[in-house]
């Protein structure tokens, strides 16, 4: 079994090592535009009970001054042929850093449209541990014309639930069926504040 650079990074990051460099676009490590390359669709994951319609179109999910580790998630929406899906819509929702969903309003909820070349980004705080779930997670519902809708969740390799080894421990959460959904977290010290950055590519099946 080989031990890749990616494995090493994830394990370092999962144990809380601080990266002072910008995050590496791990999801873009493979050629995106080679016509003969098939891209596996992002594994689906449960929609969960707290999906809410009519979320506002915003890339800033957390209210100003919200407690928690500031989080930026960026990525590309593409399809299984590698075509980037400009205009794809991403509905996003997650618990607060205290592990609570806002079911009365729309805090920690938003809709983001993928821009040029399918690039998307949103800002929030790292979710807390919601009661009844083992892992921190962000819900995604992604739609694009001509493609099958995708419902999935993003997980964080730094989650204490993984005990520093997401490869071994991701099955601790019975909802989490795919290791691919656990993404490395780049932590950057910004003065007294530690910020988290995650890259998560989203690949849709064609309809």
């Amino acid at each position: 079994m080989t031990f890749s650079r990616r494995d090493l990074m994830e394990r370092c990051l999962a144990t809380g090592a601080l990266l002072l460099a910008p995050s590496l676009p791990l999801g873009l490590a493979r050629p995106l535009f080679a016509a003969d390359v098939a891209y596996p669709p992002t594994p689906p994951n449960e929609l969960g009970p707290f999906y809410k319609r009519k979320a506002p179109k915003t890339a800033i999910l957390a209210p100003e001054g919200a407690p928690g580790v500031p989080l930026t998630v960026e990525g590309v929406v593409l399809d299984t042929r590698g075509e980037r899906l400009e205009g794809a819509m991403l509905e996003l929702w997650h618990a607060s850093s205290a592990g609570l969903y806002d079911n009365e309003g729309y805090l920690y909820r938003g809709v983001v449209e993928a821009g040029s070349k399918g690039v998307y980004e949103f800002r929030s705080v790292l979710p807390g541990h919601y009661v009844g779930r083992v892992c921190q997670h962000v819900h995604y519902k992604v739609t694009a014309p001509g493609h099958k809708a995708l419902v999935t969740q993003l997980y964080f390799a730094t989650d204490p639930a993984f005990d520093g080894d997401p490869d071994k421990n991701y099955t601790k959460d019975p909802v989490l069926k795919s290791r691919e959904l656990v993404r490395p977290v780049s932590l950057a010290a910004d003065g007294a504040v530690v910020r988290a950055r995650v890259r998560f590519e989203v690949c849709l099946d064609r309809a």
Binding site: E46, G48, P49, K52, R53, Y101, N103, Y130
Partner: protein, 306 residues
Amino acid sequence: MSRRPDHLFQPEARPSAGASEPLGDSLAASFPDGTLRVYGPDGDVRRSWKAGEKGFVVLSFSGDGRRLVGGGADGRVWVAESSAGRGLGSFPAHTARIDALAVSRDGSVITTAAGSEAAAFRSQGGLRLFTIGSTLSEVTDVAVSPRGDRAAVAFTDVDVRLLDAATGRLLATISDLDMAAFCLAFSPDGLRLACGCADGRVSIREVATGARVRNDERHAEPVGALAFSPDGTWVTSVGLSMNPATREASVKTTSIAKNIAVTDMLGILPAVTLGFSADGTAHVASPSREGLRVWDMPPVRPESRA
């Protein structure tokens, strides 16, 4: 009624599931060793029998209280005669754990949910009537009308589907809720459906069209259980606190005609089952770490009746 608010039954083991008799005063509990017990209002054990090797994960009475139906972690449904305290049989319903089930008034039709699919069955022999599934969402609850002719299925994608229970034909879709319905209940005449939602709303709908009957009532927490009164003029709902720090929830009883909250009880632990006794007093119950907790609703004041 001799129960009092926050009455605690203390059986010898923690129940794995509990149920309130819809129009009676019994409570049922399933225990991890497979024992089923039916309790009277004072915690007296009325009947006890062995219903398998393991406890059920969900439990429900038929509307007339004569049948008690359990759903297992193995996807099987078990049917028992509650009044006699004996099992009648079981059948496979799903390949995964049963998350929800409901039983018609006479116990002849059962609806179940597991993961992303729901189904309806004849209780005698387990004949499958229909299966409905989703690739993008999960089922949160199911209900069956008292006559067993209509079924309702709530999904996490927020839609509630109303179906002909015999054929699975889609009759109407309630698609104007904002968040998923966590619990569903048909009125005694089968013409209305109550939806208790994740955002705390209790929405009453016409079964034929899915249209709202009244403005939505609102809890501060997701709704964990609800039931119509025996005459169908009131609906009682229970909040389900998601805050582990407080664990407090609320119970509301509202008049459907007047669209007013009549009673409001705060500070209870989250409850998962709800029923009305024959005198119209609502009771809620929850299997908890300590046992089976039961609360009586304060009686509705006569002057506030619709």
